[in-house]
């Protein structure tokens, strides 16, 4: 606001200079008149728009009425004010020389419009910059959240701790574990950019993950992966099964003292591709609304995006037999 007042005052001074150069009056008087009129116009326009225009996107048209009204009333008020200050009677001029008065009004209108336009475009620019900034921040926050979910820190640091232990005792196994970690990280980071990869690739990444977990859990984790050769080339969304296997470990096997086994199978039933993740863990029980629920929601969302109504995720769980997750997808033609 203050900034705009100063800029308006600067323009008024320029106008006063112009009047002095081309007109008949001395600079002092011109300056007083120009400032009184100009500042009145500015104050009327700027304060009334605060009150009349709350939402720029829908109400900016009100300016069309606001600026000319501000100019006319500002001229009136400003002239009377300057008359009072200088003890002159310029307002007599209005009736004596209507043509000049009109000219003066048109010039004020021009100056008012130009200045308003200038202020507006600056404000517009600032708003756009701010909106862009907010959008950018939201996008990076969402991305960070997704990455944090994928690169579960607890898993990552435990894996690194195991790796650290292996480096001293069993460098060959450490190297193998590191290679798997690298493949897992690379797949996780690029999964959001690919739309599909072959089922063979999907199973290879699951093997990486399960091998990492097997190093950590020792004999408490056993697993089998069953992918028939004729299905190996079929395209699937990358790391679609990952959250299901992760849930089986985190909520099924990790809480169980004796551990258990996980099996992942792919098979064709008619025109459908069925992918199955089952474990012998504790069953989802009451924790399904927690992080397990987040993983499941993610799988459902990705299925809906890729296949619409033609894919489904079914869950069966009980404390004796563990959890079975079955994905049914249309068989790619």
């Amino acid at each position: 606001m203050l900034m705009r007042a100063v800029q308006a005052a600067a323009l008024n001074t320029v106008i006063a200079l112009g009047i002095t150069l081309f007109g008949q009056r001395g600079f002092g008087a011109s300056l007083v008149y120009a400032q009184c009129i100009g500042m009145s116009i500015w104050a009327l326009t700027d304060f009334s728009r605060l009150w009349l225009i709350r939402d720029w996107n829908t109400q900016w048209r009100r300016l069309v009425l606001l600026v000319p009204l501000g100019v006319i009333i500002g001229n009136l008020l400003g002239t009377l004010l300057a008359d009072a200050l200088l003890g002159t009677r310029l307002h007599d001029y209005w009736t004596a020389e209507p043509a000049r008065t009109a000219g003066f009004l048109v010039m004020s209108l021009g100056a008012g419009t130009a200045l308003t336009y200038y202020f507006l475009s600056r404000a517009q620019l600032a708003r756009e910059r701010q909106a862009l900034e907010i959008a950018r921040r939201q996008a990076s926050e969402a991305r960070l959240k997704l990455l944090e979910a994928q690169l579960e820190p607890h898993m990552l640091f435990n894996t690194l701790a195991n790796l650290r232990a292996l480096i001293a005792n069993d460098p060959a196994r450490a190297t193998d574990m590191l290679d798997r970690l690298i493949a897992y990280l690379r797949a996780t980071l690029s999964a959001s950019r690919q739309s599909t990869h072959p089922l063979r690739e999907e199973f290879a990444r699951l093997r990486d993950y399960l091998e990492l977990m097997a190093v950590r859990m020792g004999p408490r984790l056993r697993y089998t992966l069953d992918l028939p050769e004729e299905l190996a080339a079929l395209p699937v969304p990358p790391l679609l099964l990952q959250p299901l296997v992760e849930n089986s470990i985190r909520h099924g096997l990790e809480p169980k003292v004796e551990g258990g086994s996980i099996s992942v199978r792919a098979r064709r039933t008619g025109e459908r591709l069925t992918l199955e993740v089952s474990d012998t863990g504790t069953g989802l029980g009451t924790t399904a609304s927690g992080p397990a629920g987040f993983g499941l929601a993610q799988v459902r969302e990705r299925l809906a995006t890729a296949y619409g109504q033609r894919a489904a995720l079914a869950l069966g769980t009980d404390a004796q037999a563990g959890t079975h997750a079955t994905l049914t997808l249309p068989y790619p033609s």
Binding site: P153, H154, L156, F157, N158, L160, A161, N162, L163, R164, A165, L166, A168, N169, V215, R216, M217, G218, R220, E254, P255, K256, V257, G259, T286
Partner: protein, 262 residues
Amino acid sequence: MSLATPTALIAEDEPLLAQALQTELARAWPALKVVAVVGDGHSAVQQALQLQPDVLFFDVRMPGLSGLDAATRLADEWSGERPFPALAFVTAYDQYAVQAFEAQAVDYLLKPVEPARLQKTVARMQQTLQAAPSFDATLAQLRGLLRAHAAPAAAPLQFIQASAGNTIRMVPVDEVLYFEAADKYVRVITPGHEYLIRTPLKELLPQLDGQAFWQVHRGTVVRASAIEQVTRDEAGKTWLSLRAHPERLAVSRLYAHLFKPM
């Protein structure tokens, strides 16, 4: 057992990490003798009670019982003869747990365990063993951790819905004398009846008015106004007798501080 050969118990479910910690400890504290390495919370409690080690390293996430639950259960069942062991938690990444450890000044290690950090922990533990800190201070720390760990308070429950065959009984919470965990159920005791519900005590607790209902044991939550008398027996154990019920309730050590004369 003299302090010349202090003993340790390690509870860590990942075999390589348990072994690595043992190796690092041998370097940082050569005199320390690791008497047991266990992979789950229940074994941790049982072995610690049996072997009475001087120091404990408890992983936070373990099958069976979490490190925190194991530590509180151990404190509850610890016989008063030997000082309670110096305790350090071990965690890979648990932001909230770490905050709580900091707040309660409880020692903890982050995985992978750095030798320099372990050296500090060892120095602190050696100090603790010499100073023999009060058990009450340890209990207060554990209570603080439990509080930080508890689920946020939910809207207070008005009725307990208990199934009895094909019907569901609506038991007003105001009538309940106490709740007691029993295997897979929770017993709900009113002056005239007893009901069984499946909701675990841990989930029930945040839905109860904390002013009216006091937890007095890991498996018992009692209506404070139903307590008539509090007695201590010769063994130092605290018991509650109720106004409207003959059963006596045991108060565990962790919650005995609730019952002090004004």
